[in-house]
Assembly symmetry: C2
Homo-oligomer: 408 residues x 2
């Protein structure tokens, strides 16, 4: 019986390459392997390679020069060869975290064929693995544990404002199918992302499942929309076809009829009509990262009285008027419309206006400027600062923190 | 404003490799490119490579010897280098189809970095692309078109029979959110697969969206379960962690308390309780591929009167008693229990018992033997034979055919 199952499976495999040959020969490599001492070993069988390296976010960062300035990128480490197998072991134990990496064979990036866990990050893929040491650490929070799970739906909704049908991802908490009404968190991605970013890179369902199981977060519906008004859905998921993803959304299509913030009422109307939602300011939250932080800023001030909880994660502030640099305080003082919208928003006394950013983020200065504006106007907010910069590691932390502060 | 969006996106990319460097330099390759004459060109920048090949299902098949006999695998073609870019163009135009491929650089498989469209096939990934020539051809059917889309939910349900909470994928048709009740198709994967197989490799949502839009299929709910009773969910999606997928499901865990067919009542109970379902034999269908063909065979005979439409795609028949070879007729005659179950099933006069297989499938002989048994017993069935063998290309065709025959 094993044999026929095996043949069924083998016959079903579309192309037979290294992984399958290894299956037959019984020589499948384990990579990555988390060792007893907490270090991690990576392995790649590449008998003909001249150089093999590993690049990942657990290695010391390095700088890369781009036309727009210097950016920080993941470090690179050389792997060593023995009998055709290249190996690298981290010099130290890794702290709990979700890590990402790739191999670089003769200078060319490729994924680890022994590790099927990988996520798309705009135009490229990375392998991932999770280190967890104990219950409740961040690795544990990002893992699928033996706790009740929420359902994750890909939902098409009508947006009359944009004149299109659009796709969003909706998480319902584990008890949703048993009945009752739930508060709603709108959770927004950054530039280059889409409605698949928070579910994949952000580990949204895992974080919420685990926090809810521990009683640390209230059961809530989480709505992850697509913030590119010129896209109906993630690349390959709508009729624009299987185009290359872009950091600017989809540029081939027509210009959208409206902005993401103007069209956001369509999302909220749909969710409130089709889900068992607790309505009203105290039951509604919005947060987002980077461009999604801008959208959270813009949407919350466009719909005053809608949200009691607003989270700006590594947010770009006030981009609507172009790139005004870091003096957001001056820019907002000079913009009567936006200043009036913010005044109207804070007049509704939102329970939490939460600003989070890493201390090396290139948007740090903008956030300093925005906090100055809030301080000068006596608008109440909470501020949460972490190390490092504009990375998913921080956004997973911010979601974890924010989710525990809302609907309480 | 473009600049800041660009920096936001770049800063968000976890690792900077070829794809990103190409973005900066503006030298991003197009691969695959579907040419005006219908041929397809593949490109890979690999200046240091000694050999680069492409392997895919559009190339003539070749044989590979395994410990269990010869299997057919995708052919391989050499690519040619010029200025560091390796190129291959198919000698002929490709017919409409969803194709899969990989590159093989210095003998090592890797994916096309210029093509983010890829699907997991058990332990490995393949790049995919779709050729379509005109409305209604199979490439068009497998594409996301400008038609109303159904929602696709990942749902956790309780299985008291197995004593676990399990995950399944549920497609609801485009009109579902407007109200009404719908018939249900249970759609089962093969060995090595899981509840992500039909949505990804099988293009289930695209096929149903397009057939429903054309009025060729009735709007229906499609339930895609996990047929590995020792797995709660796809690899990485349950608490067993991020283990390597296996053609035998998850072997580290305890043996399941029951078989997939015994536990299937839990699936159906959940669906009928939580979805707006038209109940009764005439509104219920089941089909599956390979091991899922066996499950469709086994489930339909275990629940006589439940299904009016039963589809066996490239099915392994009667595996419950071990590998009885191709003389299924003799094996079934010798097994009074199974023969009685089939008698009870056919006594309910199912409207359609549909057997589909490719003429080079290694299970072809088993299906000849099973049809002989059905013929000798005057059990009514329909038979659909295609070329080729045990491949997703056939299973997408079978789903397309079967979906148009049911609930009418």
């Amino acid at each position: 019986m094993k044999k026929i199952f095996f043949l069924l499976a083998m016959a079903a495999v579309a192309t037979v390459g290294f992984a399958q040959q290894a299956l037959f020969s019984g020589q499948q490599l384990k990579s990555p392997e988390i060792n007893a001492d907490g270090t991690v070993t990576f392995r790649l069988m590449a008998p003909k390679a001249v150089t093999v390296q590993v690049t990942g976010d657990f290695l010391p960062k390095q700088k890369m020069t781009t036309p727009f300035g210097e950016v920080e990128v993941d470090g690179v480490a050389d792997m060593k060869e023995e009998k055709g197998v290249w190996t690298f072991t981290t010099p130290q134990a890794l702290a709990p975290e979700l890590y990402s990496y790739k191999f670089r064979v003769n200078g060319m990036d490729m994924l680890d064929p022994a590790n099927v866990y990988r996520t798309r990050d705009i135009v490229s893929f990375v392998n991932i693995f999770i280190i967890t040491k104990q219950k409740g650490d961040c690795g544990d929070l990002y893992s699928v544990n033996n706790v009740p799970h929420g359902n994750v739906n890909r939902v098409w909704y009508d947006s009359p404002t944009l004149g299109t049908k659009r796709r969003m991802t909706i998480y319902t908490p584990p008890t949703y199918e048993e009945g009752g009404k739930y508060p709603v968190l709108y959770l927004l991605h950054g530039a280059g992302g889409d409605e698949e970013a928070w579910p994949a890179l952000g580990r949204q369902a895992q974080i919420l499942d685990n926090l809810i199981a521990e009683g640390k977060a209230k059961p809530m519906i989480v709505v992850m929309t697509n913030g590119n008004a010129n896209c109906d859905a993630a690349p390959g998921e709508w009729h624009a076809g299987m185009y290359a993803p872009s950091f600017m959304g989809h540029q081939q299509g027509a210009q959208p009829k409206a902005t993401t913030e103007e069209a956001y009422k369509d999302v909220m109307n749909y969710v409130e009509k089709h889900y068992r939602v607790l309505k009203g300011q105290k039951n509604t939250a919005i947060c987002g990262l980077s461009m999604g932080g801008y959208h959270s800023f813009a949407i919350s001030k466009l719909y005053p009285g809608k949200f009691d909880y607003i989270g700006l994660f590594s947010a770009a502030i006030h981009m609507g008027q172009g790139n005004q640099g870091n003096d957001i305080n001056a820019a907002l003082k000079a913009d009567a419309t936006v200043a009036a919208q913010l005044k109207a928003l804070f007049a509704t006394n939102p329970k939490l206006y939460w600003i989070a950013i890493g201390n090396t983020d290139f948007l740090y200065g903008q956030n300093v400027g925005y906090r100055k504006f809030l301080d000068e106007n006596n608008y109440k907010y909470e501020y949460f600062e972490t190390g490092e910069g504009h990375i998913w590691k921080n956004w997973r932390i911010y979601l974890t923190e924010f989710a525990q502060k809302i609907f309480k």
